[in-house]
């Protein structure tokens, strides 16, 4: 009787087939769940990143459409070969940075990237805030006088402001 009891218990331990199914099922379930969590966290992370990027792009676009520059006056000094451009930030966006100024007429063009932005009191500035005025001085040689020139001002946020003048 006692031997039979031990034999039954022993059988439980040596019945590998039945135990293997349980363990494998448990292991697989755990693995799937773990993978599921990894995917979930990864997806959440990606969604958050996408959301942040979208938000940043939206803010950038809002800042971009809020940029507004007008040219108050343009003066070309024939003796010094310098072109002065007075600007006003009349938009809603602060920190307008200028990257390029393109000058052209029907037969000539010049791109200026090396220039200094100065407030009207002469202080240098990197950018222009709302309601601020500044002047740019460019070294250019406008060989043809009394003709129309086009001017295009490009900003860091990829806005373009176009005007024309007679020199």
């Amino acid at each position: 009787m006692k031997n039979t009891h031990f034999r039954n218990i022993f059988k439980i331990f040596i019945n590998k087939k039945a135990v293997s199914v349980v363990i494998s099922t448990t292991l697989m379930t755990s693995a799937v769940m773990a993978l599921g969590f990894v995917i979930l966290f990864w997806t959440q992370e990606k969604a958050f990143e996408a959301n942040s990027e979208y938000s940043e792009n939206t803010d950038l676009n809002i800042a971009k459409i809020g940029e507004e520059l007008i040219i108050e006056h343009i003066f070309y000094d024939y003796n010094e070969n310098t072109l002065k451009i007075w600007l006003l930030n009349c938009g809603k966006t602060n920190s307008i940075q200028l990257t390029q100024i393109l000058l052209s007429n029907s037969s000539w063009s010049q791109t200026c990237t090396d220039f200094e932005l100065k407030y009207l009191n002469g202080t240098s500035t990197e950018s222009l805030n709302v309601n601020e005025e500044a002047v740019i001085e460019l070294s250019v040689n406008l060989v043809t006088y009394f003709v129309n020139y086009d001017i295009q001002i490009n900003t860091e946020r990829s806005r373009q402001f176009v005007s024309e003048f007679i020199a």
Partner: protein, 295 residues
């Protein structure tokens, strides 16, 4: 996502609104005067905000077109509500330093508003468009106003009846002692005053002799009395003045006497032959004038 989209839409709407408001800014500029003293240009002007929104004048610019020098006055920051009038006179006169400037130079000036509008200051001449249409551009400097044509009969041998009103009609009694009047305006492009001398006349060609068809310019007192001699007088630029032609003779050469209209029932052409000086140079202009019907 929805919030970002809404945020962008709101920003776009706001910029559209700003653009709309910018386009609504409008001003009436008057009484513009430039005075130069020792390279200081004094700009007196009256400006009215006739737009329905408040505006801010931010910067004032002035350009001397002769010397090409320019100057600006920044940080004005003058706020004007709708309908507000700002007088830049007296202590508020705008003063800018411009080297080599002179009162005879041509100036251009403008305000910059905080919304980015450039408001040019231009002299607004009180010019009747009808009169402008009558200016013989490129031919002369004087314009006449057809509607002001009137004729006068005589109360006495030297006094006009119903002066200065006269009778506004192009149908004129024949064979009567008559004088004629109308308004002339000076639109000289260089804005010089024009002075008439005694050789200016109102001429009706086709009569037997020139002396029979010419009414010379006269001076008339307020009560209608015609002066026996002619004292030259001027019309300043933009000014409009009633001119009277009543004498058979040039008063520099002969004495005043009246002249009758023709004795035929007919339509006649008339011309204005004007003579004098513009500043210190001689001036002459012939203006094809009205046709009259003698009845």
């Amino acid at each position: 996502m929805q919030d970002e989209n809404t945020k962008y839409q709101n920003a776009a709407t706001e910029m559209n609104q700003i653009s709309l408001e910018k386009n609504r800014e409008e001003f009436a500029v008057s009484d513009l005067e430039y005075t130069v003293i020792d390279d200081q240009v004094f700009v007196e002007v009256q400006i009215k905000n006739i737009s329905p929104i408040p505006v801010q004048l931010k910067t004032f610019w002035i350009l001397d077109k002769n010397s090409n020098n320019h100057a600006y006055i920044d940080a004005l920051n003058i706020n004007m509500n709708s309908g507000d009038v700002k007088y830049f006179t007296g202590i508020d006169t705008l003063v800018a330093s411009l080297l080599d400037s002179d009162s005879s130079n041509v100036f251009s000036s403008w305000f910059v508003t905080s919304r980015g509008n450039l408001v040019p200051l231009e002299k607004q001449e009180e010019v009747d468009q009808t009169i402008i249409a009558h200016v013989a551009l490129g031919i002369g400097s004087l314009a006449m106003d057809f509607d002001t044509f009137r004729y006068y009969t005589f109360e006495t041998s030297t006094k006009l009846e119903n002066f200065p009103e006269g009778t506004h009609n192009f149908n004129v009694p024949k064979n009567e002692y008559m004088a004629f009047g109308f308004y002339l305006s000076n639109f000289d492009l260089k804005k010089r005053p024009i002075t008439f001398d005694a050789h200016s006349l109102f001429w009706q060609p086709g009569r037997s002799a020139v002396s029979e068809g010419s009414w010379f310019i006269v001076n008339v007192d307020d009560d209608g009395n015609i002066q026996s001699s002619f004292n030259p007088y001027s019309i300043d630029y933009g000014e409009r003045r009633l001119i009277i032609f009543a004498s058979k003779n040039d008063l520099d050469i002969g004495s005043f006497s009246r002249l009758k209209t023709g004795n035929s029932v007919t339509t006649v052409a008339t011309f204005l032959l004007l003579h004098g000086t513009k500043d210190d140079v001689y001036f002459a202009q012939s203006i094809p004038f009205v046709s009259m019907f003698y009845e």
